[in-house]
Symmetry: C2
Subunit: 375 residues, 2 copies
């Protein structure tokens, strides 16, 4: 079940992950089944007796379930300043569950996992992955934990799409929904950018049609994909403030033709280098394509869909400088929820950090989410 | 002198190019010299007796000198609807010269040209290329044509940077300046995007440190670079109108893993395919880097610079949806011209086609440029 060639797991490293087995023969949305699949997740806070204080948190494309530190794993999580006692996701009050997406490579079953039918990694034999599968796997976890109805289903970015699928697939499954910098259907611009990232990987000869070795992953393609990702996750305005036209840091200089010369290029290099050995390339391809394909309209008209979902409240947050999931998409989503009879709070934020603002501007996001949960 | 592995030139094809030899030992801005270099150019209209009706037009990164049809070459040019009798660049009135940039691969000397010292293609032995070199080579052409002062020096995109260098380097060399969707210095966002395009090429094993063969250019890297270029040249809003989430055209479908599925991906494929055999990879790398490096501030403070340039008028056009050369950059440029005493017309256009709008929305651009020239 270990990821190949995904991140090395050192048994001495702290680890707060728990696992849940998916039902054997888990049917995938576009066909195919998974045998012996499982999900990795982490939790913070306590499930109350009524089992009605759970927040299920789906992640963006690349983070693991480790959203915040805990006794078992004191390392900072990807939403460290948002989850904890007195924070926006107040663990004195809520039982927060963060799930590593089905198809990812941080403990949940994905293309880098062993196919029990062959004893080999799935690689491209992994069945087609849909946003709906990620939602349905998360629902299995909720079910296993004995939770009949979530207080809130929440997620940013890819997770902001998953929560919509969750609400569509499981009427009454959550009292509230919070979709953060997500969309009901990717724009052609986002599709174009993501498809170029996938092309960078699949055109790297080391990708070998998905049959790359642990020692030789498609590093050049992964680096390009991450660099482009980094550009699309931030904004031009932020980079004028952060980098302007400063030269590259001396320690990042390279002695190669057309080597990076500006600070912003050094930043891209560092981001790419960190990522290339931390994420499985096939897993990335599957998750990225799932984002392009998702279209909430497949689940019915907004009116019928949201009526059926039976949500008490919804929170839709967007960022004005987000080029990948534009604020117009979140606004349209909020309108459709309202039109379907869901009391909806739409919070457009003026952050300059682009799509990634939810990771950076935790003050604004914390306030918006904390206020919503407390309301 | 022929480009290797640049576009095949069929002697039977129409050709309106003329050539001018640069002075032997042409000194490059950042060091190095060129022996036996030349520029390709085309012209429309007639130079008047006073030799004061010339418009020198620099191009964007990739177009050739063939900006419009002529008797010698009746094929459509890249600015076909802008140059001609009664059009914005009115050839009944002006003598229009379009120059293929030094460093390009459509007849002017560049990395794909033969180095007379070795008899081999320059490739990476081509000296460092700067926007200033493109301007200075253009000025040599003007000088050779016996023109003491241009009526207007004009250019879009990369050409919009070259005209600024031209004005800075040749005080009094042009009566008027028109910089279209250009900038005085690239933003870190634009640098990031262009550097990823260069990385795509240099990390393609077929690039072979610039020593690729004519038969096997770094096609995968060039395709990626062009796809990303295409995204940055247009806008998200335009693509919602043009493509939305339509599926790919049946004839563009591929039977490969992670093959394109949406119309916008088919568009990227077509653009990439057209380009990959039409442009020399090394030439692209040199021109792209020159854009990142250019900084008009190297020529003095805006005040001293524009005083010295001695322009009667300037036109600065920008497009609100341009993510690569943002409207704020053109506005700042217009302000600096005004501050330096140049009567400046700043025209922000609401086109939705992004950076490429100057190629597409010839109605708006034609009016802005025609009005300026007629004033």
């Amino acid at each position: 079940m270990t990821a190949v060639p995904a991140p090395r797991t050192d048994p001495a490293e702290p680890d707060a992950r728990r696992y849940v087995d998916l039902p054997d023969g888990f049917s995938m949305w576009r066909g195919g089944t998974l045998r012996g699949a499982r999900l990795a997740y982490e939790t913070w806070g306590r499930l109350n007796r009524a089992r009605d204080n759970a927040i299920l948190l789906f992640t963006g494309l690349s983070p693991p379930a480790h959203a915040a530190a805990s006794r078992e794993d004191p390392r900072e999580g990807w939403w460290q300043r948002m989850i904890g006692p007195g924070l926006a996701l107040d663990t004195d009050r809520y039982f927060v569950i963060c799930v590593n997406s089905l198809g990812s490579c941080f403990g949940s079953t994905g293309p880098a996992s062993i196919d029990p039918d062959t004893g080999q990694c799935y690689r491209l034999a992994f069945p087609d992955l849909s946003i709906e599968d990620i939602a349905r796997a998360g629902h299995e976890l909720v079910h296993t934990l004995g939770i009949l109805r979530l207080d809130t289903v929440m997620g940013p970015s890819l997770g902001g799409m998953v929560v919509l699928a969750y609400a569509a697939l499981f009427p009454g499954g959550a009292r509230r929904l919070a979709s953060i910098s997500g969309t009901a259907a990717a724009s052609p611009f986002a599709i174009a950018l993501r498809s170029i990232q996938r092309d960078a990987i699949t055109s790297d000869p080391d990708w070998r049609n998905g049959q790359y070795s642990r020692e030789r992953p498609p590093a050049a393609g992964m680096r390009l994909a991450r660099k482009l990702g980094t550009v699309t996750y931030r904004s031009a305005a932020e980079w004028v403030q952060r980098f302007d036209r400063q030269p590259i840091r001396a320690d990042l200089r390279q002695n190669t033709p057309f080597a990076p010369e500006f600070a912003v290029q050094g930043y891209l290099e560092v981001q790419a280098e960190r990522w290339v050995n931390a994420f499985d390339a096939n897993s990335y391809l599957y998750l990225s394509r799932a984002m392009d394909r998702f279209d909430l309209a497949a689940h019915g008209t907004p009116h019928s869909l949201w009526r059926r979902a039976d949500l008490a409240n919804a929170l839709i947050i967007g960022v004005e400088s987000d080029m990948l999931f534009s604020i117009g998409e979140q606004q349209a989503l909020a309108h459709s929820l309202e039109a379907g009879g869901t009391a909806t709070r739409f919070v457009p934020l003026p952050c300059i950090e682009g799509h990634d603002a939810f990771l950076v501007d935790t003050e604004r996001f914390g306030r918006a989410i904390g206020d919503f949960l407390a309301a």
